[in-house]
Amino acid sequence: MSLVQIMFYVMSFVMLASALFVAFTKNLVRSIFMFFITLFALAGLYVLALADFVAITQIVIYVGGILVLILFAFMLSGKETLNTIMQQRKQFISLKNVPAFLFSALFLIVLINMIAKVDANNLYWIKKSVAMKNNIQPDAAMTENIGVNLMTNYLLPFEAVSILLMIALIGAAHLSRKEDSQ
């Protein structure tokens, strides 16, 4: 077992454990802060999948942007938010949550079954890409290639995403403005 594999298992254990904590804890603030850890461990997994630029983007946008936004919304939405959560869950899994738990566990079983059937390592196009040396080597620097591709092959999705971001910005500002009383 190589060091990379050990790192992978440690990272995925941390990620899944903190995600489970997020799902099952009673304290909303603590679950938001554990969500930080989930996202950091996911960034580590991206690095292990040889996508360093995506990992940095994950840290900058998710940890720096989205989590601060979620915390902000939580702070702004007052005490009643907390009260409703506190009343609901006294036990670890209350009886009301059993159907949800069963549904997601069964869905996990279905997914695992499907993954075992697909056998992704022996897919045709993956074998072809390994044979043609089209897979990323661990010592490759991919950021420059991503930049070039972004401005050539993927220019249309890039522009579409930028327009959508502007729409979302205007929409969010419009939604959260003060109603003027008339």
């Binding site: 992978f8 969500f35 998710y62 056998d119 991503i146 092959n153």
Partner: protein, 101 residues
């Protein structure tokens, strides 16, 4: 090296945790966190398969697009949640059952 199946299993588990959160929680912010977990599971798959596309970078590129889309979604969803809180004084989606007028 790490095999693709490992990545797929980890992201399937993450997806199911997100699914559980979406179904069982009574708080819009926690449901939003569940959606983020599911999106991250999808991005993990994109990145894992993107390892086999060195010249075009299809997987990594669309992982980047998905991250940006998730950011936009979250901003709008949080604005909506704040408005709902102002209107109903609760953010339990089960209790938001009246129209504006």
């Amino acid at each position: 090296m790490i095999s693709l199946t490992d990545f797929l299993v980890v992201s399937a588990a993450l997806f199911c945790i997100g699914l559980y959160m979406i179904i069982s929680k009574h708080n819009a912010i926690q449901i939003l966190i569940g959606i983020e977990l599911m999106l991250n599971a999808a991005i993990l798959n994109l990145v894992a398969f993107g390892k086999f596309d060195r010249f075009n970078n299809g997987g990594q590129m669309f992982a980047l697009f998905a991250i940006v889309l998730a950011a936009a979604t979250t901003a709008v969803a949080l604005a909506i949640i704040l408005n709902v809180y102002k209107q109903y004084k609760t953010i339990d989606p089960g209790k938001v059952d009246r129209l504006k007028d």
